[in-house]
């Protein structure tokens, strides 16, 4: 089924077409969101929200980009919303600890990606922790390109930025990560 046919059927509310779309994209969307959020439960929740949004707003999809790009864009925006809400919650927890009790999965815990080899898990967890402290845009660009392995063209259309801007974000992210990892090394010594 090509994009055009799929969009047409989705607009008619065809459930098998929606199921096909979900089954085709769910793991890729989940993987992208997991790499951004570093939390499997939040990632699953965000993946569900992404498909709900796709279902509800397919009529307003202008087809200026590929369907997959549009889906990823929704997923990335939803993941960003989650990160922002998480940061607000953390600030409120610091300000009003009696009103906002600390959650089990706090940001202090390390994220161990399920798809990473056991011998690399610790190192990867340090890298993910350092990525979390990057500015939002750098974090997104670096994750999509260096962690998710997306090509620049796709990443640019998802982030709605030109190639130079994304390259610059990735480059700055690498420099910032270098500093953060150096600091981490110093604390180990």
């Amino acid at each position: 089924m090509n994009d055009q046919e799929l969009i047409q059927q989705l607009r008619q509310g065809n459930e098998p077409a929606f199921r096909w779309l979900v089954e085709t994209y769910r793991n890729r969307v989940y993987s992208t969101v997991l790499n951004i959020l570093h939390d499997d439960k939040e990632a699953e929740d965000t993946t569900q929200d992404t498909f709900i949004q796709v279902y509800e707003s397919v009529n307003s999809f202008k087809e200026e980009s590929a369907l997959s790009t549009w889906i990823y864009r929704i997923a990335v925006r939803k993941a960003l919303d989650k990160i922002r809400r998480r940061k607000t919650r953390q600030k409120l927890q610091q300000l009003l600890p009696w009103w906002m009790p600390a959650e089990k999965n706090s940001s202090k815990e390390s994220f161990h990606h399920p798809g990473i080899l056991a011998e690399n898990k610790e190192k990867a967890a340090v890298l993910f922790k350092a990525i979390e402290s990057l500015p939002e845009k750098q974090q997104l660009a670096f994750t999509l390109i260096k962690i998710q392995g997306m090509n620049y063209e796709d990443a640019c259309s998802i982030l709605q930025q030109n190639v130079k801007a994304v390259e610059s974000l990735v480059s700055r992210a690498k420099v910032n990560l270098q500093k953060k990892l150096q600091d981490y090394y110093k604390t180990l010594k």
Partner: protein, 101 residues
């Protein structure tokens, strides 16, 4: 693209080489449909249950309450100011004489 010298970043990036894609639960679609149905049934209440509306309603309620309380105090004060203590006492204990003529 300008080349940057970031050996530590590159070293740590090697740890994610060959990383497998994360996968959702097998019942993902069933859960998704359940969530969509739940959302649809809650849609009618979504408007009223938004925090901004809840807090707004609470503030309005408190404002009306405060206004009514201040009005009550004003009435009591004016009653006390305009009538004599003896009349106040009679009014308070419902001892006023009702004339049938």
């Amino acid at each position: 693209m300008k080349k940057t010298f970031t050996p530590l970043t590159d070293e740590y990036l090697k740890s994610i080489e060959g990383m497998q894609e994360g996968a959702t639960n097998d019942f993902f679609y069933t859960r998704l449909k359940a969530k969509m149905e739940r959302n649809q049934s809650q849609q009618g209440w979504g408007f009223q249950l938004k925090p901004v509306w809840v807090i707004g309603s609470l503030v309005c309620l408190l404002a009306v309450n405060g206004f009514m309380l201040s009005q009550k105090h004003k009435t009591i004060n004016s009653t006390y100011n305009t009538s004599s203590p003896l009349q106040n006492f009679a009014t308070e204990y419902d001892q006023t004489i009702l004339s049938s003529y």
